[in-house]
Amino acid sequence: MAFQILLNMLIAVIWMLLKNNFSPVEFMLGYIVGLVLLFFLRRFLKFDFYFRRIYALFKLIILFSYKLIMSNYDVIKIILSPKLNIEPGIIAVPTKLKTDWEVTLLANLISLTPGTLSMYFSEDGRTIFIHSIHVPDKEAAIKEIHDSFEKAILEVTN
């Protein structure tokens, strides 16, 4: 991946030299041209196109913003309801993620979406214990985390 970014920057510099114009705008243009070139040449040079990961990261950010707003609305509804009708609980969520920083990212994202709060890790660090403010159905809560955040993170890192 580092090699591809370097190649892309090299193409951008060559583009600037050819245009004889050394402004940041020209660099961006050259970078885009390099992206297109790499995209079409990915089959001959036998590598995985790195921009796919950036696209997946972008999708993760969009998903996160959406979740942040939706679940904030839910928590506000709970806080402002005249009678606090909640069933808090701690649920164990096993995760398929491998490296430590992926698990850290997942735990932080879980903490930042209201209604769930990661509060403990198991010994091997692959099970996150989550305090949830309203758990009518445990399996559904686990499945929701697996389907949304874990899948998006896997797309970024794989």
């Binding site: 606090l84 214990f129 305090h131």
Partner: protein, 125 residues
């Protein structure tokens, strides 16, 4: 036009912060209060910081990067702080308000302790 956007952001921020504080007052236990504190309040403050940033950028033409840095910093530290406080609270034995609710962590801890005790007795023999 830009003033309207800034005003809306400010009102959203103030409202969210206020609701977060009400949540701190109303929730029955520490963990519930953490939910209200670290999320509603954080999002509210981030919204206010965005309003300030847009105000200086569009009305005074000053790009204040430090405000963006503050937003990033608050976003990064809020979950870590919540994690530390909830872990400390659980380790010092503060119970949840509802005794009958789901608690997978207690089960896991009991099993872990049992395993430790077994290993200890095995090594003693």
């Amino acid at each position: 036009m830009i003033e309207i956007i800034i005003s809306i952001l400010l009102l959203i921020g103030g409202g969210l912060t206020f609701i977060g504080s009400i949540g701190i007052l109303r929730f029955p236990d520490v963990y519930g209060r953490l939910h209200a504190a670290t999320k509603s309040a954080t999002l509210g403050v981030i919204s206010i910081m965005f309003a300030t940033f847009f105000y200086f950028w569009f009305i005074h033409d000053i790009f204040v990067g430090k405000l963006l840095l503050t937003i990033l910093f608050v976003f990064l530290t809020a979950p870590v702080a919540a994690f530390m406080v909830s872990k400390a609270a659980y380790n010092t034995g503060i119970k949840m308000s509802d005794k009958n609710s789901q608690d997978d962590l207690a089960i896991a801890m009991r099993e872990h302790e049992k395993k430790n005790k077994q290993e200890k007795s095995n090594s003693d023999v």
